[in-house]
Assembly symmetry: none
Homo-oligomer: 116 residues x 2
Amino acid sequence: MRHDHLSTTFAALADPTRRAILARLASGETSVTELAQPFEMTMPAISKHLKVLERAGLIARGRQAQWRPCRIEGRPLGEVAEWVEHYRRFWDESFDRLDEYLVELKAKEKKDGRHE
Amino acid sequence: MRHDHLSTTFAALADPTRRAILARLASGETSVTELAQPFEMTMPAISKHLKVLERAGLIARGRQAQWRPCRIEGRPLGEVAEWVEHYRRFWDESFDRLDEYLVELKAKEKKDGRHE
DNA sequence: CGGTTAATTAACCAATCCGTAAAATAATCC
DNA sequence: GGATTATTTTACGGATTGGTTAATTAACCG
């Protein structure tokens, strides 16, 4: 139902194991077994997490002998950053107060200006 | 099972309807009915989406007569921005190596193409 | 009070998610 | 070829998600 790219990326990031995997990969390419090391989880579980990350374009996988080294791919994170950036003013406190003021003003206009 | 805050935020953002709701709220506080307007979806569905956003702290709701106006709350988005920012170098790099990336992608398509 | 409007809750369903154990694949080494 | 190592696939649960309709709550209005 949800084929859109940004949703896939956000969904992939909505899991602490997967974010931890990305954090590990940020310090360099490595194998699945090594990635699985810190987690109390079976290999197939990790393998599935990697598939989710791969489908979101957050990692890419190579092949060296029987190892399948993973590396991080930053592009989707860039898209997330771009999306989030549109809302920057909302977490900037000084602008928060301004926004509150504007919303109040708008409500007043609505009340005075037309019947609803 | 996944009670960590960042995961909850990412999960809340992993839905185009909810992101559209946030986009609408970015231009000002409004009622549930008005929020529901652009979507081909029943009110309870919207109500559930709002609950997800509220639990993630992405919106707050007030009460004015029988209306329950929603407004956007930026703090969780700030946390997302902060998290994502740690990976900035990876999408800068991928931008620098765009050609390389495209070549790899092409090779991969060639290799995996028959599977799908 | 009774009727209308706004929104949520309850009950349900199908699909997806996150994990498991067991079997299968793939490449390497002897 | 056969054993070993690395990883994925399959099959299966149980929990969660995203939607529905019908019923309910809450506040207003006359």
